[in-house]
Symmetry: C2
Subunit: 242 residues, 2 copies
């Protein structure tokens, strides 16, 4: 048997049973020593093995898919998935939008966490940054400046700048988390109106961050990153106060 408690008639709360089923599936993956990319049993086989109906199993599988544990390919099969935080981003975005209607607490919390991560890790990132990676960062800055001069928004280049800044750390989890925060911030930004006024100033802020990084001054880079986040925080405040 793959696990415990499945056949028990004890009446856990429904939520607990769903969680248990998810855990059973994950245990099954671990017990069978499946790796990322390996195929899982079919839905019918799994439902039989775990002693639940197919629809019930599917509910758990969809949750695991959302959590990035399994990858489901229609007409082909189910597989152990590589990490995927997209659904998490959706959930957080919803939270952020919900909170923005009031005091925006959660949106500000998110900025605080992002600030702690970026300011706290910029030093290590600079240690490991190669010349090529540094050049990539500058390329992003240049693109932001060009777009700003043309009066175009540059969300994509902005995101790329921050991503490239921390690529040297080779930390997929960090990159994912920052991507999540970015996605949430972007969605909130779209929601509440553009704030497209200070394009060139925003580009200049990023230029200054780049210069500090290029100059190897960790403290200055961290400080300028902090300043950048103060600006973001200010924009959120403006939206809330309105």
């Amino acid at each position: 048997m793959t696990t415990s408690g499945v056949a028990s008639k004890a009446r856990f709360s429904a939520q607990a049973r769903l969680r248990a089923l998810q855990a059973d599936i994950m245990d099954l993956i671990l017990e069978r020593e499946l790796e990322a990319g390996d195929p899982l049993p079919t839905e019918n086989e799994l439902a039989l093995a775990l002693g639940v109906g197919r629809n019930t199993l599917r509910e758990s599988l969809k949750v695991l898919q959302a959590l990035g544990v399994v990858e489901i390919r229609h007409g082909f099969g189910m597989f152990v998935a590589p990490s995927n935080f997209d659904a998490l981003a959706d959930g957080m975005t919803f939270r952020g939008r919900l909170s923005l209607r009031h005091k925006g607490d959660e949106a500000l919390e998110l900025v605080d966490v992002r600030q702690a991560l970026e300011s706290g890790l910029i030093g290590s990132a600079m240690d490991k940054m190669t010349a090529g990676q540094l050049a990539a960062v500058e390329e992003s800055v240049t693109r932001m400046e060009e777009l700003a001069a043309a009066g175009e928004p540059f969300v994509e280049a902005d995101a790329e700048f921050h991503r490239r800044l921390f690529e040297p750390l080779n930390n997929a989890l960090l990159i994912s988390l920052l991507a999540v925060f970015w996605k949430v911030y972007r969605q909130i930004h779209l929601e509440v109106g553009t704030g497209a006024e200070n394009l060139s100033e925003s580009a200049a802020v990023h230029r200054r961050i780049y210069e500090a990084v290029a100059g190897g001054d960790k403290a200055l880079a961290a400080e300028r990153l902090n300043h950048h986040f103060d600006g973001i925080r200010h924009r959120i405040y403006e939206v809330i106060e309105k």
Copy 2:
């Protein structure tokens, strides 16, 4: 109509359709100006409103439940939920266990992120910490020391110590993230054996962190936190090398 694209016959990938359905539900919540705790329509009403079958709707609802967007109470109804990151913790725990079987990259990444968060935010937390909160931190340390003297492990007190350290920031997102990281670390720890050897030394490390915090020396506190994480990282290395 609450949203777009539901009735479209265009064949998106199945995954995209599921995501769209989740987004539809969230949009519905936002459009109706529902607050946390407010009730959602019943499953049948929702299925009808969104033009999908009840099972399909349920799959999306379970995902949203896992993401902490909705709360489902058997026999009572569904409600807009307060934040809940439990399922995220499960997913990350799975990832960590999966990766530990190989090089443990993801486990190490997780420690790095946690270190950045704690070291980066300890200063702000100290600024806002009240005398009562400081006393609570020391109480956790004392309990760890007592348990260490008795030869008992103290995972709970350890978690409490870190949680209390950052309570002053009033950042629910941060607390949740740290809780997730803690849960993952704890599960991994259980998985690979106890490492119960250095109990008193571990307690002493926490005592030194507390002393730095109590003394108001932010740099020292950050440094000692970093040292603490170096120890954790070392333990993970031991497990992998074996």
